[in-house]
């Protein structure tokens, strides 16, 4: 079953990757979205706005029962009929029964993701009631017999020619593939149905406890018609849509359109409370409040922030995986990052099992989420759950538990790999399951060889002559710096010594554990956290430096999280977190050392690639740029400087090399277009990926770590 599921999923990935037209459209959309979004938020403090929403939604979750009761009481007082549906089937049954009781033949629907979640249309059709989608995108998708590929733009995967064909079948005449014309066709085709329909079905963006009313945030005007014309109106509403007051609703309305489509406000915001007049009588207004996994989600401390989602869809728009394969692959009913999480709770972990592995971990979604949800962290937690349920694969589990947790064995094996790779071609690896080092030969990217001498073995031989060091710092090398790029560590010593800082290398340090977390193997990650805390704090360093932002994130953030409930370790984890810093920031902020490098470099045109975990993991992007410019280089910005390079550790090596390749191609194209002769970055993982991509496509641009560039500059002295 799992095998078949994986096979089907792979096939969908391959198919999507073979559709460049879709990728182009989604890339363009992503670019245009970011520009209009920025414009829409001009003069607003996004961080403050999302802080408010997140705090409000969290408060709602904590007082959910009372607020829900308040909503229900107020709604009923206004003549609304309330039904609380535990499951999707309950909701569908209630609505189909109602339709049957009314003798309904036609229901007009306006866009509602919740009705997609419950597959309401299928249930109505089965009962002999036509359910007509009236939102343009939804109607297109319905005519095509598909499901929406985006929560806000359901038909974003389709092109006007396909749509013209669908519409031609409907009207019985050849409709030209012109967008304005097609919109007019939809207007005319659907118009009569509002008048004919017995029931109008809508969703709701917000349910206001204070009033017992709902708010619909829309553009097309179909929801207004669907809630006005038919005698019966049913609103299908997820119980997480609740807010306490009208002010809270206004806060969501202020942010949602800006973050969804870059509009200041949608054409319509419709506040509906109670049984309003309808053709000389009172309308029959039903609100179906759907749980369907939401209470279970609220019970999960690691995942429940996902209930704060206001469904803006932005997490998909900016996602490099979504842009590469689209929402039909990277989603179930709900799509993108939030889709992975909601699928797990609303449609079952099995339906989410492939999706949780498809996240590359770049955190671009986290940066734009208006509800401040740490989507990546929740996805990683779910990956761990899938790992627990299904096993992460016997080979992998063995490697993580038996090998990585045993540092000596792990490092011996890496060295053995270095030995074994000798007689074979560059890039070939023999032990395939270890993170980073051992993967199938790829035709799209060269891989570095494991170094003859690891950093840990060369370190003590490098003499450090500093009379009175300002600081004694420990270097956390991380696997890539240690075993693939030891020269980077040696360069760091040079740079630090020039700034009167002594560096030492605690030999007991092990892998930071992120590869284990990304593979759903938390047990190993926690064990590694303890080993590393012990190793790094042993000699009381003034600071712990990193050259890899993924490691920095682990030391600063993940260790603390893993051990916060462990009294023996929590404090030490905090302490390590406090003194850990990436090398570039250390030079600039702690040492005020930029001056030392002033104009030493042989000036080169350099573009800077923001590593995901540096920019969005630890919030650093200006420091390295400043140092590079200061040292005399010309800095030119590439397009999408902070878009993921597609590495993602084992993501690119074993789990999703095909998607990784696509994302890398985008990055290489952006680097080339910048006109730079060198691309700088602060992450050995990105170096491995980007160097490999540049080499493989014979692009004569070098890829260097900022620290390497600074060391180069010093040598010109």
């Amino acid at each position: 079953m799992n095998k078949q599921r994986s096979k089907d999923y792979r096939q969908r990935v391959d198919q999507a990757l073979a559709t460049p037209k879709l990728q182009d459209a989604l890339h363009q959309f992503g670019d245009a979205f970011l520009i209009s979004r920025e414009k829409a938020f001009a003069g607003h403090d996004f961080e403050a706005l999302r802080g408010n929403i997140s705090a409000m939604k969290t408060e709602v979750r904590e007082n959910h029962d009372e607020l829900l009761q308040q909503f229900i009481d107020n709604a009923k007082a206004a003549g609304t009929i309330i039904y609380q549906a535990k499951t999707a089937a309950d909701a569908n049954r209630y609505i189909t029964d109602l339709a049957k009781k009314k003798g309904a033949k036609l229901a007009v629907k306006s866009k509602s993701m919740v009705s997609e979640e419950t597959h309401l249309s299928a249930a109505l059709e089965k009962a002999g009631i036509q359910a007509l989608e009236t939102d343009l995108g939804e109607w297109i998708v319905q005519l095509a017999g598909q499901r929406p590929s985006h929560m806000v733009m359901p038909a974003i995967h389709m092109f006007k020619e396909e749509i013209a064909d669908l519409f031609s079948k409907e009207t019985g005449q050849q409709e030209p593939a012109e967008i304005e014309h097609l919109v007019e066709v939809a207007r005319n085709q659907l118009r009569q149905s509002y008048l004919d329909a017995d029931i109008g079905i809508t969703g709701a963006n917000i349910a206001v406890a204070e009033t017992g009313g709902i708010a619909l945030i829309t553009n097309e005007g179909n929801a207004r018609l669907a809630s006005t014309m038919p005698k019966v109106h049913v609103a299908l509403v997820g119980i997480e849509k609740l807010v306490p007051t009208l002010e809270d609703a206004a806060r969501i309305i202020q942010v949602l359109p800006k973050n969804a489509t870059g509009q200041l406000l949608t054409s319509y915001v419709t506040w509906i409370r109670g049984a309003v007049p309808c053709a000389g009588e009172d309308k029959e207004f039903h609100i179906v409040l759907l749980d369907n996994g939401r209470s279970a989600l609220a019970e999960s401390p690691q995942c429940r922030d996902a209930l704060n989602c206001i469904r803006c869809g932005a997490c998909a728009n900016v996602c490099p995986v979504y842009q590469s394969v689209g929402g039909h692959v990277f989603g179930h009913v709900y799509i993108g990052a939030i889709g992975i999480i909601l699928t797990a709770f609303y449609h079952g972990l099995d339906n989410a099992a492939e999706l949780v592995k498809a996240c590359i971990g770049c955190r671009s979604c986290v940066a734009v989420c208006p509800s401040n949800i740490d989507l990546e962290e929740i996805i990683l937690h779910l990956r761990e759950k899938v790992g627990d349920d299904e096993g992460i694969g016997a080979g992998k589990a063995l490697v993580f538990r038996k090998v990585m947790q045993n540092r000596k064995l792990f490092h011996t094996m890496i060295k053995a790999a270095s030995f074994l790779q000798k007689p074979v071609t560059r890039g070939e690896r023999t032990i395939r399951h270890l993170p980073l080092f051992f993967s199938p030969l790829t035709e799209w990217r060269t891989l570095p060889a494991v170094a003859d001498r690891a950093l840990r073995d060369s370190f003590s031989q490098k003499s450090q002559k500093i009379d009175k060091p300002r600081y004694r710092v420990a270097l956390f090398g991380g696997c890539a710096n240690d075993f693939l790029y030891p020269e980077l560590g040696l360069d760091l010593i040079e740079v630090m010594n020039a700034l009167d800082v002594e560096v030492y290398y605690p030999l007991e340090q092990n892998c930071c554990g992120i590869p284990a977390i990304y593979s759903g193997e938390k047990e190993t990650a926690v064990e590694l956290a303890k080993q590393n805390i012990k190793a790094m704090l042993a000699d009381n360093p003034d600071y712990v430096l990193t050259t890899c932002p993924t490691c920095a994130m682990a030391l600063k953030h993940n260790f603390v999280e893993h051990l916060k409930d462990n009294p023996a370790w929590a404090e030490r984890a905090e302490q390590l977190s406090k003194i850990t810093i990436d090398a570039a920031s250390f030079i600039l902020n702690q040492l005020a050392g930029a001056e030392l490098f002033a104009d030493l470099a042989k000036s080169e045109k350099i573009t800077y690639h923001d590593s995901c975990h540096l920019k969005r993991g630890v919030g650093v992007w200006q420091e390295p740029r400043h140092l590079i410019e200061k040292s005399g280089h010309e800095l030119v910005e590439m397009e999408h400087a902070d878009r993921c390079c597609g590495f993602g550790g084992s993501y690119s090596l074993t789990s999703h090399p095909d998607i990784s390749k696509k994302i890398l191609q985008d990055k290489v194209a952006d680097i080339q277009a910048s006109g730079a002769t060198c691309v700088a970055m602060d992450c050995p993982g990105c170096m491995m990926q980007i160097r490999g991509g540049l080499e493989k496509s014979d692009v004569p641009i070098r890829a260097q770590h900022t620290i390497e560039l600074l060391a180069e500059a010093l040598r010109n002295k």
């Binding site: 959309f29 297109i140 359901p154 097309e220 179909n222």
Partner: protein, 187 residues
């Protein structure tokens, strides 16, 4: 914010989303403007500022062919609809229409042209400031259908290309009429 600035901000935002904003000095001038804009019939529901200023007869006098009742039957064929505005929101160019009376809804959803009479004295700065009158409406009536209208109806569902006028009005004309009403709870 001074009133003139609010009006400017409102007008600019409304124009940015595709509405037309026209200043007139009286109801009869508004009626003349509307007459120039439509050939077909205009739905004219009842609302208090309209009644006070005898909107229906002004329109007739200007030569507009009006429909004043039985909207469910005639709305489909009408070219336009006209209402007052409870108040407006400056930063987004939004009209707030208390639309609980069904005729208000029919007049503003079905015909392709939407006309709105706004007293420029009734503009709040933003959506947060709009909450106060919004709450008062909720307190006054036990059932509500309140619409925020920002520009004409739109979609970007085909290839993300912004297209105006899908299911709702294709054109929105906002007529600024001073002295019409100073009550935010009244249309």
């Amino acid at each position: 914010m001074p009133r003139a600035q609010l009006i400017d901000q409102f007008s600019e935002a409304a124009i940015n989303v595709g509405a037309e904003v026209i200043s007139v000095d009286s109801i009869s001038a508004a009626a003349d403007y509307i007459f120039a804009k439509i050939e077909g019939s205009l739905l004219v529901p009842s609302f208090s500022s309209g009644a006070r200023f005898k909107l229906k007869s002004a329109l007739k006098k200007a030569g507009v062919s009006t429909e004043v009742d039985n909207f469910r039957a005639v709305a489909e064929a009408a070219e336009g609809g006209i209402t007052g505005v409870n108040f407006a929101i400056a930063d987004t160019g939004t009209l707030v229409l208390e639309s609980t009376a069904e005729d208000i809804r029919l007049a503003t959803t079905l015909p392709p042209k939407q006309f709105a009479l706004l007293d420029p004295g009734k503009i709040v700065a933003d959506g947060m400031e709009a909450v106060k009158p919004l709450r008062q409406m909720h307190q006054r009536d036990s059932r509500n259908y309140i619409a925020y209208v920002t520009g004409p109806s739109r979609t970007a569902d085909i290839e993300r290309v912004l297209t105006i006028g899908v299911h709702g009005p294709k054109e929105l004309f906002i007529l600024l009429v001073p002295g019409l009403s100073d009550d935010f709870l009244e249309m």
